[in-house]
Every structure is written in C-alpha cells, then in structure tokens.
C-alpha cells in the first residue's frame, strides 16, 4: 500500500513539474499538453490514492464506477455545453449588425421603428 501511495506521489510531482516547466515554452501545443498532464494526473491519483479499479482494496464495487461515470457525464455536458454556447453567443454577437447597418441597407428606417 505504501508503495502505491509513493508511486502516485512521485508521478503527481513529475506531472506537476512537467506542466509548470514545459508549458510556457511550447506555444501552440501548450494547452493540449496542460490538459493531457492534468487528466493524466487525475488518473494517477484515482488509481494510486483512491484505488479505483482495484477490487478488494477499498471495497470498490460496481456502484462507485456507476457514480463516477454519471458524474463524468454530467460534468462533460455542463462544462462542454457552457463553453459551446458561450463561444457561439460571442461569435454571433460579433457579427450582429448594428442599427446603423440596418438603416444603411434599407432593411429598416428610423421612422418605422416601433417605440
């Protein structure tokens, strides 16, 4: 058991240092590297600290896997959905014609506007 914790600890330190030292020098690949290192550290800690997937060690049974999967799905929808919608909004906001554009193209005239 001590061995598992030590492996997890050392790997986590290495991954933290990799993110910290390498990311600023990688330019375009920095974000993929940071995300990959964070996810890898997540799996390292789930495996070596929380003993997920090791039957018998901590009474890990099917219900925990189900809970983890459910949480992962909700988080995926929540975070992915938020970023998607907000990015979309920002894009359409940038392309939104102003009132002046509408007047200039005759789509609308100031005197016909409803107030």
């Amino acid at each position: 058991m001590i061995r598992a914790y030590t492996i997890g600890f050392v790997l986590s330190i290495l991954l933290t240092l990799v993110s910290f030292l390498l990311a600023p020098n990688l330019g375009f690949f920095a974000i993929p590297l940071l995300v990959a290192a964070a996810l890898l550290q997540l799996f390292v800690q789930l495996r070596f600290f929380l003993h997920i997937g090791q039957r018998g060690v901590d009474g890990v049974s099917g219900s925990y896997t189900l809970l983890l999967t459910l949480a992962a799905v909700i988080i995926g929808i929540l975070v992915g959905g938020t970023l998607w919608i907000m990015a979309n909004l920002q894009r359409s906001h940038m392309h939104m014609p102003t009132l002046q554009d509408l007047y200039a193209h005759g789509v609308m005239a100031p005197q016909n506007e409803l107030h």
Partner: protein, 187 residues
C-alpha cells in the same frame, strides 16, 4: 465491510461526485469569464506561478500524508498514524495560510471580487476550494479529539479512511485549479 459502513462509503462517494458537479460549474464560469477583466488586472498581472507551484506541492504532500495515515491506521501503528495526520494538518493549514495571503494581497491592492467578472469567478472558484480545505481541517481536528479519547478503534480507522478520501478529492480539484485557473491564462 458491514452493510452500514458500505452505505456510509457509498454516501460519501455520492457527496463527492455532487461536489464535483458544483466545482465543474464554477470552472465553466471561470473559463467563460477569465477574459472579462473590465479594464482591471488580467491573470498575468496578478498571478505568481512559483507561489502557486509551492501551494500545489504542499497540498499534494498533504494528500500523500493522509494516504500514509490510512496505511498506518490499518496496521494499528499508533505513532505513524498520528505523525501522518499531524503532517496532513500542518501542510493543509500552510496551504490555507498561503491562499489567504494571496487573497488579502489582492484585496489590499483593490483587486477584490467586485473589481471584474474575472476576479469574481476567480474568488468564487478558488475560495470555494479553500472553504473545503478549511472544513477538512475542522474534520481533522474532530478526528484528533476522537483518537485522543478513544484510541485507534475500528471506528477511528474507518473515519481516517473517509477523511482521506475527502482530502484526496480536494487535491484532485486543485490539479484543475492549478492548470485552468493559473497556468492556461498565463500562456
């Protein structure tokens, strides 16, 4: 493991996963808002990467120490359990102290949560994590009292296991705070 313990364990996991959803929404808010600085400071103006690296390594070591406490407690090794838990507490308290130092420095410069949407989402996300750490320290204090009075009973060993689960979970959340809040905006 008896039925009661099994239920408690499942309940703790259910709580932790729902807490994950809470943090996920705060992360989503930060990801959307971190560029909304409203003429105030941007992430690169106020974050000190080395300071955050120190915080990260301290919390990681604290998480490791709580894992060792579980191993020692399982072996009925009294001294080892106490040393590991006291180390967990000391490192956790140091982490919280560093975080409060960062917060008070920002507020003193006029960069509090009311300054911009970026700072609001920053304080909410990192502050919520800090509040969890504070709660964990209280929990650990209660555990010390329990162990001092009753000794390393099977109940105490189980409770150390539950605490350690919570503590590892907070370190996992911090990996993402380190990456998403501090490192990515600094690129």
């Amino acid at each position: 493991m008896d039925k009661h313990t099994d239920h408690a364990h499942l309940g703790l996991w259910t709580y932790l996963m729902s807490d994950c959803v809470l943090f996920a929404s705060l992360f989503a808010a930060y990801a959307v808002l971190y560029t909304a600085t409203a003429g105030g400071p941007a992430p690169a103006d106020i974050f000190h990467p080395r300071f955050v690296l120190a915080e990260t390594l301290i919390l990681l070591t604290s998480s490791f120490a709580s894992g060792l406490a579980v191993v020692f407690a399982g072996r009925q090794h009294r001294l080892g359990t106490w040393v590991a838990l006291l180390a967990t507490f000391a490192l956790g308290a140091t982490f919280l102290g560093l975080e409060l130092h960062e917060f008070s420095g920002l507020v003193a410069q006029g960069y509090g949560w009311q300054r911009s949407a970026f700072l609001s989402s920053f304080f909410t996300l990192v502050g919520t994590h800090g509040l969890h750490i504070f709660t964990g320290l209280l929990w650990l204090g209660a555990l010390f009292l329990y162990m001092a009075v009753r000794g390393l009973t099977p109940q105490a060993v189980r409770r150390i296991g539950y605490f350690s689960l919570f503590w590892h979970f907070l370190d996992i959340i911090w990996i993402f705070i380190f990456t998403i809040v501090y490192l990515i905006p600094l690129l």
